[in-house]
Symmetry: C2
Subunit: 318 residues, 2 copies
Amino acid sequence: MSHGPRGAVVALAGGVGAARLLRGLVRAVPAADVTAIVNTGDDAEFYGVHVSPDLDIVTYTLAGAVDTQKGYGLAGDSTTVVDQLGALGHEVWFRLGDRDLAHSLHRTLRLRAGAGLAEIADELRRHLGVATRILPMSEDPCPTLVELSGGHTVHFEEYLARDGAPDDVQGVDLSAAQRARPAPGVIEAIRSAGVIVVCPSNPVVSIGPVLAIPGIRDAIAASSAPVVAVSPIVGGAPIKGPADRLLRGIGVEVSAKGVAGLYTGLAGGFVFDERDAEQAAAIEDLGLRTRVVDTVMVDLAASTRLAEAALELADELR
Amino acid sequence: MSHGPRGAVVALAGGVGAARLLRGLVRAVPAADVTAIVNTGDDAEFYGVHVSPDLDIVTYTLAGAVDTQKGYGLAGDSTTVVDQLGALGHEVWFRLGDRDLAHSLHRTLRLRAGAGLAEIADELRRHLGVATRILPMSEDPCPTLVELSGGHTVHFEEYLARDGAPDDVQGVDLSAAQRARPAPGVIEAIRSAGVIVVCPSNPVVSIGPVLAIPGIRDAIAASSAPVVAVSPIVGGAPIKGPADRLLRGIGVEVSAKGVAGLYTGLAGGFVFDERDAEQAAAIEDLGLRTRVVDTVMVDLAASTRLAEAALELADELR
C-alpha cells in the first residue's frame, strides 16, 4: 500500500472523541492511510448479541451514519426490538437501535461461525463504506471494570449507561486487558506507522485498556514514528463522558496536565486546548512538546483543524 | 379450575388453520377452558434466535395481533433487523419482523437462562393478553424434515418458506418427534379434557408431529372425551399451505376422505366442508360420525360457527 508523505497513521481510539478526531484525520491525510486501533474494553453482551460500543461509534462516525446528537448509534435508527424486550420485562438500559442490533447480531453470528472480531470489524466498516481500517485492540474478552465505593465492581457500560456514571470511583480494573493478546494486525500496524496519534478519548477507560494489552505499549515505544496525544480535557473538564470521575478515581488531576502526565514516556507531543494554555510550561516540563489550539470539535472543519495540528506537531517531532 | 358444561377443551394445533379455529373455539366456550397443544416441528433457529412459528401464529391470532393478510407475524410489524442482515449478506428468506424477533429473542434468552419452552410460551401468551393456555407439544427439539426427490432432505421451514413448497415430496421424517417427550402439562391436559378437537391443520406436518410424540396418541386413546377432527381440505385442496403436496408425498389422497382416513382410530367425529358432501358416506364407512358445514373461516363469525359445529358433533359422540 502506498501512503501519503507522512506514511501510515495509527490512531489509538475510544468512542466519541476519537471518532470525531478520526473524521478530521481522514480528511487531513488519505483515509486509507489511517488505521484506528479501538478499545474493546466496553464490549459486552446485551440481548444475547455481542456489542462493541467503541468499534461501532468509530465506524458509524467515519461512515457519516452516526446519530450526531447522541454521539453513538445510527442516525434515525428505530428501537422496536429493545422497546418490545422492555415490555417483556427485560432490562433495556442499553438502548441499542434496530439496525445497530442487526450489526451486533451479524457480529455474533459471525463469531459463532468462527470469524474473529477483527475480520468482522472489517466487514462492518466495508459494508458501511468506510475506507479507514478499523481494528479492535484485541479479540480476547477484556472487560473494563469500574471499582466503586463499598467494594462494588461493575462493567464499564453498567457504570456509564445503566448507573449514569456516579462519582464514587475507587479505581479501574484492566486485568482482563492485561491478560489479552493484541488483535491480528495491531502490532503490525504500529510497526509500520509513520505517525501515531492518541485520540482525545478517556485516558483511563478508553486509551488505558489499549495500552494495557501486553505488546502494544512496547511496540509504540519501539517505533520510530512520532507519537502525539490529544487532550480530552478542556478547561478542567471532559467535553463528554465521565473522564473527570475516572481520573479522580485513579488519583489523577482532572486537567490537560493530568492527562499529559499519563502519556509521558509514551507520547512525544501533546495537543491541548487554548483554555488550558497556562499549563503549557508545566506540560513541557513533563518532556512533551506542546501545541495549544481550540480542541472542541464542533464540526467537521474543527475536527480537521485539530487533526492537522496533531499531524503538524508530529512533523516537528520527527 | 371450573369449566363450562363441556369441560376443558383440548385442541391439537398447527399454524394458520388451527389459529382461526381457536379464535372461534374461545368464543364458543370460555377462553380459559381451552388448551392448545401446538406443533413445534417447525421450530428452528433463525438469526441466532429460537423461532416457534406455530406457537407464535396461534398466540398472535388469539391476541388479535396477527397479520391477517399473511396469517403469521404481527400486524404492522417492521422488518428493520432482517433487512439490515440481508444487506450484510445473510440469507433472510425467513422474514421475521422486529417485534416478532424481540419475542423470539425473549424466548432464546429465557431458554438460555434455563426456562422451558412451555413456561416461555405461557409468558408470551400472557404478555399478549391471551386467556387460552398455549402449550408446545414438546420442549425437546423435534424438527420435521421433508424428504424430496434425489434423496434431498430439508427442514420444513426450508421446504415451505425458502423453497416455496415444491411438489416433489417423497416423504416426511418425524423421527425427532418420535424420540421427543411431551412438554410439561400436555398429557395432563389431555387426561382432563372434556372434548378433544383436532384443528384443520396440515395432517402430515402439523398434526402428524404432535401425534408422533410418544404418549400423546395413547393419552388421547385412553381419554373418555369425544375426539372431533376438522378437515383442512375443501373441494380437494387445502385452503392454505402445501397439505396437498405433503399428503400426496406420503401416498394419501388429497380429499376430506383422505384426511379422515388418517384420523380413524383417533377421532370419533369428522367435520368437513359442504363442497365435499358427496364423501360423507365413505367417511362414515371409516367409522367416523360426520358433520358437513361451510368450513372456510372467512371471518370470526365463520370461525365461531365451525367451532360450534365441532363441539356439537363432540356432544353427539358422548
